[in-house]
Amino acid sequence: MNKRFLNVLLLAIAVIGLASCGDDDKYQGEGLKTVSNGACVVGYGTSSIPGNLSYIDYTSGESTTNVFAKANGSSLGTGANDGLVYGSKMYIVVDGSATIEVVDRNTMKSIKQIKTTDLLGTSLGTNPRHIIAGNGKIYFTTYHGIVAAVDTASYALTNKYTVGSYPEGLVGVGNYIYVANSDYGMGKGSISAINLTDGSVETETISGVVNPVKLFYANNSLYVLDNGSYDASYNQVGAGLKQIIGTSSTTLFNATIADLYQGNFYFVNAAYGAKDDKGNALVTYGIYTLTTGTKTAFAGSVDSPAQIAVDPINGRVFIASNSMNADNSYPDYNKNGYVREFTSMGTKVKDYVCGSSPSAIFFNYGYEKVN
């Protein structure tokens, strides 16, 4: 066990300034209230469908697909993978096109297209994957073991950190950014800790974590979503939400997708190859409460769960799904998907149409003046 890495974790205290949901520092203060106006659904697309963005408007209760294309007359790019709202702007990470599209969060008009290969060069800049924001910067991972920091006013590269193999999700904790290095599922995944004060990076393998893709921080502890590995018959094994303690881990529950809301993990476990008694694909839904360490059933379900997200402002629960192909009852990526909204206990509220192959859900926050 590496003591320094452990110390790094212990030093991390609170989520200030950096968060995956992107609080905008300059608007924080008296007389302002955070409100969420809607949910944005990023769609990866397929080899014949471009990446896309759908928007669920809370006020109208309706969703619109391809909002970026409609507002700009051009496509988002090939393979849109992640996004967030930070301040007045929305940032969408487009993996295949190697761009980060900066968009006005109200009009969806493009403000700037950041070419990640211009910032990082061809050899490090392709395949941007995930993004967080804070301190007036966005931080994104690329498949080349890089976390890049970009100023949100000048769009200039301010820092570049070398992390582990095939980094995916990241989380900001105090003056640190933790990064899930997936190793592209090859089994040697690791976690990196970037010290933003001195720019140093520590990368450690965590026992019991092989394919980390997403990180959460709560109650002074770091949690990782591990996509696990595949056995000889291609069953997905070891996928779950794990608490990181130093360089070891404890599995809290089995899951393939999860989101954290006020100390509760909302999750879906849809491991490839898992079958119930009748031979049907086995998918479970649940809520895990950190304080009690207990699992509660989640009543809702979708056809082919792709993403889960809870609006941190109002607790609305969304699960994105691929639609099924009527010819063969398998997921159909060449078809619009949908997002199903649930109450916190899993009662279905409404279905919204989204674009093809949903890859991320994020929320459109702003600040409203209160007197």
């Binding site: 007359g73 061809t122 599922g185």
Partner: protein, 688 residues
């Protein structure tokens, strides 16, 4: 995190057709035995796979081609042929252009000289279209798709397409196992003298094309002819294209698209005696290309490369009995192919994949003609294929294939009928696993042709064929769950047609064919996802294909030196998903299948400069079976012009110039794989 992402005749101058031809020619001649013997000799001499006989080498090319055109009229099932003279006359520029000139064929072309080109016939899919090279079917056990971009036309003597079973019955059983076979024949040069003969060609053109070719042929004795050919192709393929991104139009250039390929062949032809021949071919092909990949919005970075290598040795032995009523054909082939794919963009070579496959194949066909009007063929084929790869999931699959066909043909003056039964056995195994399901099946087929009027070349024809496709190794074992219990994909073909050949005057002649067809596919093998990255294959689809193929070739002779020729084909191909009546996709046209396609060319041969103009086109296609909004690929029409002149300077020198896509039409055949716009090629061919 994804683990692995999903990615991606020989017999046209058929013996039996000649038998039919013989019957026409010799119907009033004397003795029965004499007639049969003559027919068989003619068969064997016309048969492309027989060589170096003193009688065969006397035939000049023109005669052979003329007879091939005849055969497309006489055949019991659709057969189309383009000889090397047609290729020149009608301004055919490359193999893909040649295939566009054949009715019923659909080419998937990834663009440019280095872009992969595969064919499917009448909506049956490229895995279910056989491709034979000098009489022996090419095998591709990995994914079942033959990339035709490797065949440049400078060594091609003819290209033909046979759909269903025709009256050519003296064929290996494996050829009968396909619903359609595309045959590529190399140039057959069989000099009568003993001096060295050289055929050289240099071709150059836009986008860095450089293609020198040389073929050396010499007769060493009365019975032995050897030839060696060698060819190199370089192309940068950095052609410009227009990219439409909703309403944003940008002008882009294809990059990372360079190719360097080498291809060499050695042919040894030995006339063992008056009755027996042996032809052995050694083939090597090596193509190292960068792949630009699908066009991606806002970036053109690609790190993909593909290095293909293929070597084979094939030998063909033919013999016949003294009295001529028994003929034997024995084929053997050893094939090795490697495909080395790399993607430098992904660290750690995570997407790299190399595949190596081998085939050991042998076939024997026995043709027996006991009495006039009746012939039988029994063919027995055995093949062993195996595949290994660099994938972590590799299990080294292999397959033993035993095919037997028994064919009977009855032919009287105005009527020809053929019946065949094919017995197939596929025994599958894996070195590190259990292997996919074995398959055994009987497949019948029938075809017939009837001459409607005694003294007019007006025929009607009908054919039926039931056939199936065994899953490829990719379908059975890869990406990522193996699908080892896949059933075969079953196809039933029906064809009715009318063919007419007529000399309208001594100045004008034409030949026309019109066929209507129905193909019914069930248990279609379809790739389905567990998620974006883990796919498997299932038997679920039903497809109903119906359509019409039409072809026309007409010539008008102004005088003995000036001829105007028109050649055209049109295909109507409705290729519908009929899997589930309640599905929103019911009756959707399958992805990449145009409903309308066709080509036309007009050539003017004269003593000064020969020229042709030609065009090909197709209607819109969908990039996916779901017809997702915006995934339609617009139809196109493109045209080219070709001029050439042959002069005698001691040898024969042909100079040719082409303008391709003369109106600079921007189009795609595959979604986001642009085709080149206007371009130029020039070639000089010299032979002596």
């Amino acid at each position: 995190m994804p683990l692995v992402s999903y990615r991606e005749g020989a017999c046209f101058k058929s013996c039996s057709q000649k038998t039919c031809l013989c019957n026409l020619i010799f119907s009033n001649s004397r003795g029965r035995m004499r007639k049969i013997l003559l027919c068989i000799i003619l068969c064997l001499t016309y048969d492309s796979s027989v060589m170096a006989q003193s009688d065969s080498i006397l035939l000049d090319d023109v005669e052979v081609i003329a007879s091939a055109h005849k055969s497309s009229v006489l055949s019991t099932a659709p057969v189309q042929y383009l000889g090397s003279n047609d290729l020149l006359k009608f301004g055919v520029t490359d193999i893909s252009d040649a295939l566009h000139r054949l009715a019923g064929i659909n080419i998937l072309d990834y663009g440019g000289t280095g872009g992969m080109k595969t064919v499917s016939v009448r909506g049956l899919g490229s895995q279910h279209t056989g491709v034979s090279y000098d009489g022996i079917t090419l095998s591709e056990c990995q994914n079942g798709e033959i990339d035709l971009s490797r065949y440049t036309l400078n060594n091609v003597g003819g290209v033909s397409l046979a759909i269903g079973d025709n009256d050519d019955i003296f064929i290996p059983a494996r050829q009968a196992a396909y619903p359609a076979v595309l045959s590529i024949e190399t140039l057959k040069t069989l000099p009568l003298d003993y001096r060295a003969h050289l055929l050289t060609e240099i071709k150059t053109g836009s986008f860095g094309l450089f293609n020198p070719f040389v073929k050396y042929t010499q007769r060493y004795s009365n019975s032995f002819v050897a030839s060696v050919s060698s060819e190199y192709t370089h192309a940068d393929n950095n052609f410009p294209f227009t990219l439409k991104n909703i309403s944003l139009i940008t002008h882009e250039k294809r990059t990372h698209n360079k190719m360097d390929s080498y291809h060499g062949e050695v042919d040894l032809r030995w006339s063992i005696n008056r009755l027996s021949n042996l032809w052995t071919k050694v083939y090597y092909y090596d193509n190292n290309r960068l792949l630009p990949g699908q066009v991606v919005y806002y970036t053109n970075i690609s790190g993909q490369s593909l290095h293909d290598k293929n070597a084979f040795l094939q030998t063909l032995f033919t013999t016949r009995s003294n009295n001529g009523n028994l003929s034997l054909k024995v084929n053997a082939k050893v094939n090795w192919a490697a495909s080395i794919y790399k993607d430098a963009v992904y660290p750690g070579g995570i997407k790299d994949a190399s595949y190596w496959q081998r085939e050991y194949y042998t076939s024997a066909s026995l043709l027996y003609t006991p009495v006039e009007h009746i012939a039988f063929d029994y063919s027995l084929d055995y093949a062993y294929n195996n595949l290994n790869s660099s994938l972590a999931t590799d299990t080294r699959p292999y397959r033993n294939t035993i095919l037997q066909s028994l064919t009977a043909k009855y032919s009287v003056n105005r009527f020809t009928a053929v019946a065949r039964i094919l017995h197939s056995v596929y025994l599958n195994g894996e070195k590190d696993g259990e292997g996919s399901k074995d398959m055994r099946r009987l497949s019948p087929s029938f075809s017939l042709a009837y001459k409607l009027l005694e003294n007019q070349d007006l025929f009607v024809r009908a054919s039926y064929k039931s056939i199936f496709r065994a899953p490829t190794f990719t379908e059975s074992y890869y990406y990522l769950y193996g699908s080892r219990d896949l059933k075969p994909e079953i196809t039933t073909q029906f064809n009715v047609g009318i063919t007419w050949k007529q000399n309208l005057s001594n100045r004008m002649d034409f030949a026309a064919t019109l066929d209507a067809y129905i193909n019914n596919v069930k248990d279609k093998i379809v790739a389905v996802p567990y998620n974006m990255f883990v796919w498997t294959h299932i038997n679920v689809g039903k497809v109903l294909v119906h359509g019409i193929d039409a072809s026309l070739i007409a010539s008008y002779h102004f005088d003995s030196q000036q001829t105007l020729s028109l050649s055209g084909n049109y295909t109507y191909n409705k290729c519908e998903n009929r899997t589930m009546k309640t599905s929103e996709y019911y009756r959707n046209q399958l992805a990449y299948m145009p409903v309308h396609s066709g080509s036309a060319s007009l050539s003017y041969e004269n003593p000064w400069v020969n020229m042709s103009i030609h065009g090909t086109g197709m209607s819109m296609r969908w990039a996916n079976n779901e017809h997702y909004e915006g995934c339609n690929i617009p139809g196109y029409l493109e045209a080219g012009i070709s001029i050439y002149k042959t002069i005698d300077i001691g040898g024969k020198l042909t100079l040719r110039g082409d303008i391709l896509n003369i109106f600079n039409k921007q189009y795609n055949i595959i979604y986001m794989y642009p085709m080149p716009g206007r371009s130029f090629t020039m070639s000089a061919t010299y032979s002596f």
